[in-house]
């Protein structure tokens, strides 16, 4: 059974687009500082063969974050993209996230089908992080952020471009509401052509890091869950230092 969550508030984004984001009301939060974590999952048709393992990976990431010593200072949001990008759930504290919900059959199960709106999802994830960080900062909460974008291929469906992703990141850096933001692009079982394109996307959009998994086997996805949860922990521990954490290796 899902946990009872604090109600989330709907927000529009300054970047426009079909959807904004939702998040826990600022007045419902009690801690002094937060690391905003966003998981962006590619759910295009090609992910179908290992969908259940990806769901398990998400559940493991949420569970690991909930066990982290910094769990009270973490908020998670989940975005998915196929032909369009959409929000699975908005920013909420780990208390309000039940790992079981992310498994196959759970309320946060990934639904597969369609093309790959990688840039649209990236713009939304980054812009929503910046917008919510501004709300938090206005209420005296210190914040930093980490965004993971997991994909098995190249964009073929977005209305936004890699340049728009870069602009969204530049806007966040200009606003100075976040102490630091890391954006990690993760290619899963991509061929060399897509891998090169994704690495070029990292460079063009000024993302923090591009890492690759050779395939989507349960062993590799377990490594992915470990990498993401450790990166979250590291970035959260860096909050208050003035800069981001050092990127980890996969």
């Amino acid at each position: 059974m899902s946990k009872t969550s604090n109600p989330l508030e709907q927000h529009k984004l300054p970047t426009g687009g079909n959807f904004g984001f939702s998040a826990t009301k600022v007045e419902d939060l009690g801690a002094t500082e937060f690391t905003l974590v966003t998981l962006v999952n590619d759910v295009s048709g090609s992910v179908g063969s290992y969908k259940d393992d990806m769901c398990e990976t998400n559940a493991n990431i949420i569970e690991a974050c909930a066990k982290s010593p910094r769990s009270e200072n973490l908020m998670a949001r989940m975005v998915a993209f196929d032909t369009i990008a959409y929000e699975q759930h908005g920013f909420k504290t780990l208390d309000d996230c039940d790992p079981a919900d992310y498994k196959a059959g759970g309320s946060q199960e990934l639904k597969i089908g369609g093309a790959t709106a990688l840039f649209d999802a990236s713009v939304n994830a980054i812009a929503a992080t910046g917008a919510y960080a501004k709300n938090l900062s206005d209420s005296d909460f210190d914040t930093n952020a980490i965004v993971f974008i997991v994909t098995d291929g190249w964009d073929n469906s977005s209305s936004h471009t890699a340049d728009d992703v870069k602009k969204a990141l530049e806007q966040i850096r200009r606003d100075e509401c976040l102490e630091s933001i890391m954006v990690v692009l993760i290619g899963v079982g991509v061929d060399s052509g897509s891998g090169s394109a994704l690495d070029q996307f990292r460079a063009d959009a000024d993302l923090t890091q591009y890492v690759e998994l050779p395939d989507a086997s349960p062993t590799q996805l377990a490594k992915l869950a470990d990498f993401i949860s450790k990166s979250v922990s590291s970035q959260s521990q860096a909050l208050g230092t003035g800069g981001p954490s050092q990127p980890l290796t996969l």
Binding site: E27, G30, A31, T32, S139, D140
Partner: protein, 292 residues
Amino acid sequence: MNIDCSLHTGKSHSICEDYTRAGKLSDDRKYAILSDGCSGSPDTDIGARILVMSAVEVLDRHPDLVRQNNDMFGMSVIQIAEKTAISMSLNPQCLDATLSIIVENTDRKSVTVRMFGDGSFARHLDVDESCINVSQRQWKSGAPFYLSYMLDEKRYEVWKKVTKESGVSVRTIIISPNDTRADVCKWLDISEDEDQTLSRPKIYLIGEEATILSVLSDGSETFYKTSKDRMLEPVPFEESLQGLLSFKNFNGSFVQRRVNRHIKNMNKDGIYHDDDLSVASMTLDSEKNSGN
């Protein structure tokens, strides 16, 4: 009703000699307490902690003592603290520290505030939410009252003599969190009797006389900016109060968030607090509550 507190080591200190604590007593009454240890006495970082924990013990075991208009509460606290210090082989002078308390009364309808020593007491007034009334007390000799003087007659007599010669001053500052204007009254010299009165309990009815009560150590008065010629320029106290007490919201760690942000903003401008700083607050309005 919510409680929270915030503690920061001053720029000139290697060890923080303030201590503050906010929590619940065994009967679920809430409290917010701070203590400011004297830098010139030994081990006052530990003494301040012992004093606060002794106060918690007395509040727990003798719930109504704190609101009695006599010395019983202070004596009980310092006697327990002395025993603890001696059991730890510490010089009882480690207890040379102020003690400021905000505690919910057993009637659950009122709150008692007591301040032994210097520092400030602030009330967010419910008649005008944007208005904060701050009372500040200073011993001109630089030697504020410590409960520990009551353990040693000679020290107490010396302190009383010095205080009588130099005097005690109080002033009121009215500030608004949303406005940089402040109404700062002149320092007023007070008599020994009036000074004694200030250490007496003050009772506030929940939901009627104030929305938030706060106590601040005198570190809040020590924000300085280093000028180009390397001179320390003090920041007007009313400006510091405005920054420290302009709470944006009242859930969870509301004091820590505000104080952290104020210090961060000040540091960006090259402004630092020289002395240790502690702030402890309690919200009295049911609208400003949380599940704490």
